[in-house]
């Protein structure tokens, strides 16, 4: 089932900071819902383990994350591909970072994803809603991370 996602979120950091955050595998590991391992396998390419638990549904995926079409500090495409016991998932999202002010950046995202296997055949009714929820969780985690790192800046 194809899932379309689109939205924006303004984050309380500069464009450069946000760019750095979004290119930091450790940050991605912390903010991508369910992500439990990230291992760099090449430039802008990571192997990722995901354990997603949404309500009663849990699925484990192993896959890759790739950052493509980089135009620092304003744009990249994040591609995700994973496979697990309940099927596969893949998707890509274009991120655009717009300067609002020195301390604020608007992150616009537009992407689409698809899942296959049992989830696709059984969960079609609620997939989009769940996907939106997961995007929300990503942003919450990112905001939380920003709040934490701003309060206690990580040592270089």
């Amino acid at each position: 089932m194809a899932i379309e996602l689109k939205g924006e979120q303004t984050l309380p950091v500069s464009q450069a900071t946000l760019w750095a955050l979004l290119n930091d595998p450790a940050v991605l590991a912390k903010t991508i819902p369910g992500c439990n391992t990230v291992r760099e396998v090449g430039p802008d390419r990571y192997e990722m383990g995901l354990k997603l638990q949404v309500a009663n549904v849990s699925g484990e995926y192993v896959g890759t994350v790739a950052i493509e079409e980089k135009r620092e500090p304003a744009h990249y495409i994040l591609s995700v591909e994973g496979q697990g016991s309940i099927g596969f998932m893949k998707g890509h999202a274009a991120f655009d970072l717009e300067v609002v002010s020195d301390a604020q950046t608007r992150l616009l995202y537009t992407g689409s994803g698809e899942v296959g296997g049992v989830v696709a055949g059984v969960g079609q009714r609620v997939l989009s809603g769940v996907a939106k929820f997961l995007v929300g969780r990503f942003f919450k985690a990112l905001e939380k991370h920003i709040a934490e790192t701003q309060a206690h800046p990580a040592p270089k």
Partner: protein
């Protein structure tokens, strides 16, 4: 109906099979326990189109209780490719995918374990690496020369394409006062029995024999299993005494059985595979026709329909099987019940990355009937003519039978006008019109649907040579053996399994009728395939005709033998004897009688009293050939398809909530003529069931695929079959025009109701939509589809 000339046929009698079903004593495949059997679960592809890069089974094999993981590479090397109905040898198919997967849900590996749950645990641990390939889902796009090829070796996505021209089509179109054209679409739905497919197999190395218990309805199933497994035919024994929990065409199971048979032999363990519902829906290969019709009609201003052009594009999914032949059977009723002078028919069968299609009730006739009836309604609307009057004008008249249609088939008999009249009377048509108009006046949408359709019956194989010149099959016989034992008890032996059609009742009724013995005392058993006489299984509405005639034929031999014994012992010419209730007496001297017991005693024990040349014992077989069968198609594709043509006239009233688009069937009547009904309760039941199934196809059911080829309706939460809350009470009115081709005048009825219900309901919905000026030409006509149509018509409140 009154059948005074028959003693048992046509009477209300209890069905032989029912007592075991109501007490929970049916014996279905999942009820059969073979000691030591192991269980299979499947690893299915999540991708609709991908290359298999690697399969890692070690984690699965390391589990306790797991015996084997079979992959395509091994199976492909060890078995023959599965049979394809058309001449496409490079569209190869095996039970497991090899190198490439072609639809989401296709089997990639089979895991054998001690229990089904363990097998599923292990299946989860089989890791498959895929590289995704382009995915083809649109049947029109499949025709493009640059389309992704589902089977590159075949060189095209077209499995079958031919343009038949029967009669002076172009001249008729040119001469006709008017023409119209439209496109309509029959959605991919199926019969979806409540029992999934299942099979258990056991290999006996000492006997070199594969025993198979399966939920099966498939012509030549044992032969195909044996060939594919590279075994002699007599090394496969299929047990036909397994109750089949519904089929209506789809329980084919060749790939399942080859898989399980291979594993049983390879591992030396009995193996069971019962599809779960997910496996059944996505990989059971039981989806039905998925068809786009482009229709053109040529007609006169008085409503006379001259000619038809039909282009039927069928999306059969990723593999062929018998499915392309579902475009072939409709050739035998390509003009429906109408006098249409000439026809052009272009069936096109294409491959896509979807679950494979199999035979579904009617074998392609119900979609064709839907297209033809939609055309009739459109002509009526175009001419502003009453749809019933238009049909009456074009229906073949009773006095025209036998009636030869342009595609070479002769319809045996019928009285279509009378049956339509009866249906109209049963529905109280004037009241129906009043109810529709009242509903409209009250702000509702309401419409009446009429459909007059044929059910070709007596299932013959003529579509095989028609669609595959290398296939010269001209017989599709069926058989019966009747035996009277020493005690005088009668047993009928049939040679195929039964999936709810009541064949035991059929055989016992027919044999009882001929021998004048109470059918309640006649036992009917199912032979296994090594004991069986030839059969082509209960497909194509054929068993009343084929098995019924075979049983009658065998019983007649028994009766003739009894007469011969009596003649010999009473020293009387046969002509002077009379047979009554199993006793034979001298016409002129009724006191000179040999009773049943005495005749049986002689047949079984006293060869000295037997007439010379007559075998001792009392059993007879009869192999019955399809009436009118035996011919090959002509070069221009004309052929006698099926022998007998049943007729049905549906009248239905639908009301639609204009605010939500939700339709409700408020009145439904059907006039039905299948000749002599052997068991009216069974015929009525199948007719009601066929209508319910047709309601599903018309309003609810669809195997929907997502943009990336995922089957979105994989469960009963999304594949919506009508319940008792959706199916209305339906009035059936019977009519009997006996077939001149069968022993009792019977025709087939296994597809009754289904062949016309979708057409009738679609016509009713379009009658309801007519005031909006729009039409809906795609099944299923869901509330959203109806609402969207009304939206486009701009008539929503």
């Amino acid at each position: 109906m009154s059948n005074s000339k028959f003693r048992y046929i046509g009477q209300h009698r209890r069905t032989k099979e029912d007592p075991r079903f109501v007490t929970g004593r049916g014996r279905y495949v999942a009820d059969i326990v073979v000691p030591g059997m192991k269980h299979v679960a499947l690893v299915a592809s999540p991708h609709a189109s991908a290359r298999i890069k690697a399969i890692h089974a070690d984690r699965a094999l390391a589990m306790d209780g797991v015996h084997y993981v079979l992959t395509g590479a091994e199976l492909v090397a060890a078995t023959e490719a599965l049979m394809v109905g058309v001449d496409t040898p490079l569209v190869k198919r095996y039970p497991l995918a090899h190198e490439v997967v072609r639809y989401a849900g296709e089997w990639v590996a089979a895991v054998v374990a001690d229990t089904r749950a363990l097998a599923e645990d292990a299946a989860e641990r089989v890791e498959v690496e895929y590289e995704t390939l382009p995915c083809l889902l649109d049947p029109e796009a499949a025709l493009n020369p640059d389309a992704h090829l589902v089977h590159p070796a075949h060189g095209s996505n077209v499995l079958y394409r031919r343009k038949f021209v029967w009669g002076a089509v172009e001249e008729d179109f040119a001469a006709a006062a008017q023409t119209l054209s439209f496109r309509c679409r029959w959605a991919r739905s199926a019969t979806v029995p409540i029992e999934t497919f299942g099979v258990t197999a056991r290999w006996d190395p000492a006997q070199q024999l594969l025993d198979v218990w399966a939920s099966i309805q498939m012509p030549k199933y044992p032969d195909q299993i044996a060939r594919t497994l590279r075994l002699p035919g007599n090394a496969v024994r299929v047990h036909f005494d397994v109750d089949v929990g519904g089929s209506y065409g789809v329980k084919r199971g060749i790939k399942h059985t080859v898989l399980v048979g291979y594993l049983a032999r390879k591992l030396g363990m009995p193996i069971r595979f019962i599809e779960d519902r997910l496996e059944n829906m996505r990989g059971g290969d039981m989806h039905g026709p998925d068809r786009i019709f482009d229709m053109q009609v040529a007609f006169e201003n008085d409503g006379t329909i001259r000619a038809l052009k039909i282009r039927a594009l069928d999306d059969v999914g990723a593999y062929a099987g018998r499915s392309p032949l579902q475009l072939g059977k409709p050739v035998g009723a390509i003009v429906g019940p109408y006098q249409i002078h000439s026809v052009e028919y272009e069936p096109i069968s294409v491959l896509t990355n979807k679950t494979a299609q199999e035979a579904v009730r009617g074998f392609g006739q119900a979609p064709t009937n839907f297209a033809i009836e939609s055309a009739i309604d459109r002509v009526a609307r175009h001419l502003n003519m009453d749809r019933v009057a238009l049909r009456r004008h074009n229906l073949i008249r009773k006095d025209q039978f036998p009636y030869l249609i342009p595609s070479g088939t002769t319809y045996d008999s019928g009285d279509y006008h009378t049956v339509l009249d009866k249906a109209m009377a049963a529905a109280d048509y004037p009241a129906l019109v009043a109810a529709r108009d009242a509903a409209r006046a009250a702000g509702k949408l309401a419409g009446i649907g009429i459909a007059t359709c044929l059910e070709p019956s007596g299932g013959n194989s003529s579509f095989e040579p028609l669609f595959n010149p290398k296939n010269l099959t001209t017989t599709w016989m069926d058989s019966c053996l009747v035996r009277v034992d020493l005690s005088g008890a009668i047993t009928g032996v049939m040679n195929t399994s039964t999936s709810g059609q009541g064949h035991e009742t059929l055989v016992s009724t027919v044999v009882g009728e001929i021998l004048e013995r109470d059918p309640a005392d006649i036992r009917v058993v199912h032979a296994d395939s090594l004991n069986a006489l030839p059969s082509n299984s209960p497909v194509g509405s054929r068993m009343a005709i084929m098995l019924g005639s075979a049983a009658a034929g065998a019983a007649k031999i028994i009766k003739a033998n009894l007469m011969a014994i009596a003649a010999h012992n009473l020293k009387c010419p046969l002509d002077d004897l009379v047979y009554r209730d199993g006793h034979v007496s001298v016409k002129a001297e009724p006191s000179r009688v040999m009773d049943w017991d005495a005749l049986i005693e002689i047949a079984h024990r006293r060869i000295h009293q037997m007439p010379p040349g007559l075998e001792p014992g009392l059993q007879a077989k009869f192999v019955f050939e399809v009436p009118t069968g035996g011919g090959l198609p002509t070069a221009d594709g004309r052929v006698q398809m099926y022998p007998c043509y049943s007729f049905e006239a549906h009248v239905v009233l639908v009301e639609i909530d204009p605010a939500t688009g939700q339709p409700t069937l408020t009145r439904y009547a059907i006039g039905h003529d299948c000749g002599t009904m052997i068991s009216p309760q069974i015929v009525h039941g199948m007719t009601w069931g066929g209508i319910a199934h047709g309601i599903g196809a018309a309003l609810y059911e669809k195997f929907a695929f997502s943009e990336n080829g995922q089957l979105a309706s994989q469960t009963f939460m999304d594949y919506l079959m009508p319940s008792a809350m959706e199916v209305p009470s339906v009035d059936i009115v019977d009519h009997c025009t006996p077939s001149p081709l069968t022993v009792f005048g019977q025709k087939g009825s296994g597809e009754a109701g289904y062949l016309g219900a979708p057409a009738a309901i679609a016509c009713a919905i379009n009658d309801a939509l007519a005031p909006s000026g729009h039409a809906l030409d795609e099944l299923p006509m869901t509330p959203m589809a109806i609402w969207s149509t009304l939206q486009s018509a701009g008539s929503m409140k």
